[in-house]
Each structure stands twice: as structure tokens, then as C-alpha cells.
């Protein structure tokens, strides 16, 4: 009896909430963004222009990919986001679980300009990538007379004592490690070659850090020259006045795709699709590249030489981009983290 009463109240509440959203549905859009400098750029490049153009209001909830995904899962029966942004491959799992809706390319005016690899999953529900953080090598252009060219250059014993590795609990750190593993002959089924390489580098004096700001500290104060990390962070270092430059490794560039996804079972999908379309536009992507040095996925984006040098740019530049299977990474994460911890603790 008690539970029935409770559920009746809950039902009424849900109805009331739904009525509330139904009334506001036409003109508000609820999305997530990643906070800080990212959110500022996001507002400048996409959100404000979108509000101006459509007269709609965008409610931004600051939530990283994993948190936003957890919320989406919890709200499966009554989702509260219209559009979610992911950077860790969550859209692949989300699409499989039916949390995200497939996108009809006919509804997006800019989709034709997007590189094929960035939109391959939209029919399955995986949103298109509107920006890409490319993982390559950040190096100190003053300390290193010769720029590194290949991922194998990280293994040069001459630079080991000045090398910074990011912990694999860090998303970019994971991608950098998997690439190192790949060039050493491993794959997602076998990460031992990568771990062996890391062990050798640590024996040579390399350091491990767990957060991005520590990389800056290592470069600024502790004599670091070289780090496998993301293009956007190389820009952060350069902005802080360090002689840091970004270069893509010859064997390929692991990429962290930042995707914009349509949430399933929401009433105002038309507006949401317009927002997604806006994120894919040439101007929005040029803006992201200028502000944060993310690689555009729009083939028509035009960047100044200075900006272009800091990202993977143009058809040539994005050819080397590769993506490790996010589902496999997710499935193995706990085991890999433990192996990694044991390797670096020796």
C-alpha cells in the first residue's frame, strides 16, 4: 500500500516535470560542456551564435564525458539532456545501449563537409566528431635542436631523462601509451611491448605525471623536453610562454574524438539537430582551432599557418589520425591500469 502510494506520487511528479519540459521544449536546449577554457570557447564558437540565430536558450551543464554518460544512463527512462558531448568514446557504448538516437544526414547541412572518418557512425547513433584532440609529441624547441619525427624517437636514450609520460588514468596518457605500444609491436590484445618500453624509459630517468598541469610544471621547472601528449595542451604550454611545439609522429596520430550526440527520446530533436549542425560548421570549427588548437573535422575549415602548425590540418594532416577501439579500452581499463601501476612502481 505504502509503495503504491509512493509510486503514485512519483508518477504525478514525473508527469508534472514532463508537462514543464513540454511547455518549454520548443525554445530551450539542455547540453553538457567540459568547463573552464573549453566551455568558454564552446560558448563563443557554438552556443552564443546558435542562440542568436535561433532565438533559443541553451542551458549548459558542466559535466565531463564520464559524468555526463553516467547521468544519461541513470536517466534512461526520462533523459534530461538534448545534446551531449563526449571525448572518451562514450558515444560508441551509448549508441549500443540505445541512449543516443541515429542522425539522418539529410537534416544536417554541414555534414557533407565533414571528413568521412568523423561521421562514420551517425546512422548507428554515434554522433559526429566536431573537434579532435590529436596526440603527438610536445617538445621544447629550444632544448631540442632537432624536432622529433617518429614515435620511435621517444625511445631515444639521449632524451629519456627529459621525457615526461602521462599516467594512463589520464585519457590522453592512455592514447599515448597505446601508440607507444603499437610502434613497439603490441596491439590492444597485448600491451606488454608498451609496458616494456615504458620500463626502459623510466630506467633511463623519465618521469610519470598524472595530470596535465604537472606536465607544464615539468617543462617549466624540472627540465623536461619531450612528452607524448595532445595538441591542445602544447598550445596551453606555448600560451604560458614556454617554447613548446607540437608535432605528429610519423607512424600515426592517435586521436581523441570530441563528438556531439543526439539524445534519444527527447521531444525537441529538430532544435538539437540544428545545434549539432552548428557544431559542424566551418566557422565553429575554425573558432575551436583558433581558441584551443583542436583539429577541425570540417574539410572546408581554413586555418592560418600559425594555427595549422599546432593541429593536424587538412586532408594530409588527418590521414594519419587513428582511433583505438573505445569499447576494448573500456573493457580492459581496470586490468591495464593495474599492470601499468605495477610497471611504473618498480
Amino acid at each position: 500500500m505504502k509503495t503504491r502510494f509512493g509510486s503514485a506520487i512519483l508518477g504525478t511528479l514525473v508527469l508534472a516535470l514532463m508537462a514543464g519540459t513540454a511547455m518549454a521544449q520548443d525554445k530551450t536546449l539542455k547540453i553538457n560542456s567540459f568547463g573552464g577554457a573549453y566551455e568558454q570557447a564552446h560558448r563563443k564558437c557554438v552556443i552564443t551564435p546558435f542562440e542568436k540565430e535561433t532565438g533559443a536558450t541553451v542551458q549548459v551543464v558542466t559535466a565531463y564525458s564520464a559524468d555526463a554518460f553516467a547521468q544519461l544512463r541513470a536517466q534512461k527512462a526520462a533523459p534530461q539532456f538534448d545534446v551531449v558531448h563526449f571525448s572518451g568514446g562514450q558515444e560508441i557504448v551509448g549508441a549500443k545501449e540505445g541512449l543516443l538516437a541515429p542522425i539522418d544526414p539529410g537534416k544536417l547541412t554541414n555534414i557533407a563537409d565533414i571528413y568521412d572518418f568523423a561521421k562514420s557512425g551517425i546512422a548507428r547513433g554515434e554522433g559526429p566528431a566536431y573537434s579532435i584532440a590529436a596526440i603527438g609529441m610536445i617538445y621544447d624547441s629550444k632544448a631540442m635542436s632537432e624536432a622529433p619525427r617518429s614515435w620511435k624517437d621517444l625511445l631515444d636514450p639521449k632524451t629519456s631523462a627529459h621525457l615526461v609520460l602521462a599516467d594512463i588514468s589520464n585519457g590522453y596518457g592512455m592514447l599515448g601509451f597505446l601508440m607507444l605500444n603499437k610502434v613497439e609491436g603490441g596491439d590492444l590484445a597485448n600491451i606488454q611491448p608498451g609496458l616494456d618500453a615504458v620500463k626502459k624509459l623510466l630506467d633511463g630517468g623519465a618521469t610519470v605525471v598524472s595530470t596535465s598541469p604537472e606536465i607544464q610544471q615539468e617543462f617549466a621547472q624540472n627540465g623536461a623536453w619531450l612528452a607524448p601528449y595532445a595538441s591542445d595542451y602544447a598550445f596551453t604550454l606555448a600560451k604560458a610562454g614556454l617554447p613548446a611545439k607540437f608535432v605528429q609522429g610519423a607512424e600515426g596520430t592517435p586521436a581523441s574524438y570530441i563528438t556531439v550526440n543526439l539524445v534519444a527520446n527527447r521531444p525537441n530533436q529538430e532544435l538539437a539537430l540544428k545545434f549539432i549542425d552548428m557544431s559542424l560548421s566551418k566557422s565553429a570549427q575554425e573558432c575551436f582551432a583558433n581558441e584551443l588548437r583542436y583539429t577541425p573535422t570540417n574539410a572546408k575549415a581554413v586555418l592560418s599557418p600559425e594555427v595549422a602548425a599546432g593541429v593536424a590540418y587538412g586532408a594530409e594532416g588527418v590521414k594519419g589520425l587513428l582511433r583505438f577501439d573505445a569499447a576494448t579500452i573500456e573493457a580492459n581499463r581496470a586490468a591495464w591500469v593495474e599492470k601499468w601501476n605495477k610497471t611504473i612502481a618498480h
Binding site: S169, L202, V208, N222, V337, N341, A345
Partner: protein, 273 residues
């Protein structure tokens, strides 16, 4: 209503708060540490105790805590003795000097050490200039860095515990020892030290338990490579999301600290009695 029930009634809110805020979390931690996919299991403990990596982490935690306690006692005892024996005005300044660091957050003090101990920081640079270290020498991400940082953080607890005891000692005992022909060192060793023991024990207990369970300073100064138990628990909670294993590690830390606490507590009880 008898006095007894009245007292109990008065104490009830406090007891309830204690139960909710202290016993419930510990009970939940204990329950989590033995929970497996099919009911109660000791697998998490077995995994910890059979893996040389985790045993190494435990051993490092205990070893570092012991070294830190020892160093704190070695510095803290003479310091507290001097504090107790100087004039009241100078003592005030010394007490302020001991307490002042406690006014700053541990995190901020640790960041200070990170700047001082880094490769181009003050300490390695001086050592290099003196020819005591080579070019690539840095103190960051070493156990030495953890010990230095932790001693600075925990020294006040040791000093103040010992000061409390020494300042209550009767000075005439020392004077008597000296008139009987005892040297200064012998007076300290045979008179002051034994009488100050309860303070040293209490301080050591505080420092040991705090350093065994500390997280921020070892993590920042030791880096990700040098793990202590608290950092390992943190990694299990946030990175591998293995909460039962994290709970098992927390129980092991808890039990380890208790193991040290009991004989210490017995020792002081006997001395006081």
C-alpha cells in the same frame, strides 16, 4: 527518572551522532571489503596479501611512517626540551613558530616543497653547486622527498605532545642529578628522557598514524610511481573502480595502525600507572 537514565538520555544525541558518523561508515567499509559477486568472500584480502606489488606498497607505507616518526622524535625532543627551559617570552615565539605552519593548508606547504625540491629548485641546486650531486639530480619523486615533506608537516604534533610533558617536569629533579655529579647528557638520558616518555609515545603514535594514512603529501612529493597505501586505495576507487578491493586495502591499513596502537597504548598506561 533515575540519574542513570537521565544521563543516558542526555548522552543519546551524541551517541547517535557517533554511531551515524563513525560506526556506520566503518561497518559499511568492512562489509564492502568482504563482498564479492556471490556473497561473502576473502578474495580481496588474498589478492592483496599474495601480490608482491601490494605487499611492497604496504611495506613502504610502514617503513616510511616509522622513519618519519623516528626523525620527528629526534628533532622534536631536543626542540621541546629547549622550549620548556627557555624564558617565557622566547617560549611564546617558539610555540608560534611551531604552530604557524599549521595555519597553512598541507597542500600549499607541499607545493612549496615541490618548488624547493624540483630539479631546478633551491635544494638540489645548492647540493649541485657544492659538488655533492651531479647535473641531473633532483629530489622530487623520491622517498626522501616524502620524508622531508612529511616531517615538516607532522613535526608540530610531536613537539607539542612532548612539550606538554616536559614543561610539567620538576626542574629540581634535574638539578639534583647534576649536584650528584651527573653530566648534562647523562641527566637527559637517565632523568628527562624516561620521564618524558609518555609525551614521546603519544607524539609518536600521532605521527605514525597520521603518516601511515596520509595521502596528499606522499602523492605530490613521491609522484605516481612511489605509491603508499593511501594512494593505492585512491587509485582503486577512482581509476579501476574496484571499490571492494579499495575497502579491503583500507581495512588492512586500519588493522595495521591498530596493531601499532595497542602495544603503544599499553606501554603508556603502564608508565602512567
Amino acid at each position: 527518572m533515575t540519574d542513570r537514565t537521565e544521563n543516558l538520555l542526555l548522552a543519546l544525541p551524541g551517541l547517535l551522532l557517533l554511531a551515524v558518523a563513525f560506526f556506520v561508515p566503518i561497518a559499511r567499509m568492512l562489509a564492502l571489503s568482504v563482498s564479492g559477486p556471490d556473497g561473502v568472500t576473502l578474495d580481496h584480502f588474498a589478492r592483496f596479501l599474495s601480490d608482491p606489488f601490494y605487499l611492497g606498497v604496504l611495506w613502504r607505507t610502514v617503513r616510511l611512517a616509522a622513519v618519519i616518526t623516528l626523525i620527528c622524535a629526534l628533532i622534536g625532543f631536543p626542540f621541546a626540551y629547549i622550549m620548556a627551559r627557555v624564558g617565557p617570552r622566547l617560549r611564546l615565539w617558539m610555540v608560534i613558530a611551531v604552530i604557524l605552519p599549521l595555519m597553512t593548508s598541507v597542500v600549499i606547504r607541499t607545493f612549496g616543497w615541490m618548488v624547493l625540491l624540483g630539479r631546478s629548485g633551491l635544494v638540489p641546486r645548492i647540493l649541485r653547486d657544492l659538488g655533492l650531486a651531479d647535473r641531473g639530480f633532483g629530489l622530487m619523486q623520491t622517498e626522501t622527498a616524502i620524508v622531508i615533506g612529511m616531517v615538516q608537516v607532522l613535526l608540530p604534533f610531536m613537539t607539542l605532545s612532548i612539550l606538554g610533558v616536559i614543561s610539567r617536569l620538576d626542574r629540581r629533579l634535574e638539578e639534583a642529578a647534576r649536584t650528584m655529579g651527573c653530566s648534562f647528557a647523562a641527566t637527559i638520558r637517565t632523568v628527562v628522557l624516561p620521564l618524558a616518555m609518555p609525551g614521546i609515545v603519544a607524539g609518536s603514535l600521532l605521527v605514525f598514524t597520521l603518516s601511515a594514512s596520509s595521502f596528499v603529501t606522499p602523492n605530490l612529493l613521491g609522484g605516481t610511481r612511489i605509491q603508499v597505501l593511501a594512494a593505492s586505495i585512491y587509485k582503486s576507487v577512482t581509476q579501476t573502480l574496484d571499490w571492494p578491493f579499495a575497502a579491503a586495502q583500507a581495512v588492512i591499513l586500519f588493522a595495521g595502525v591498530l596493531l601499532v596502537l595497542i602495544p603503544y597504548a599499553k606501554m603508556t598506561a603502564r608508565r602512567d600507572g
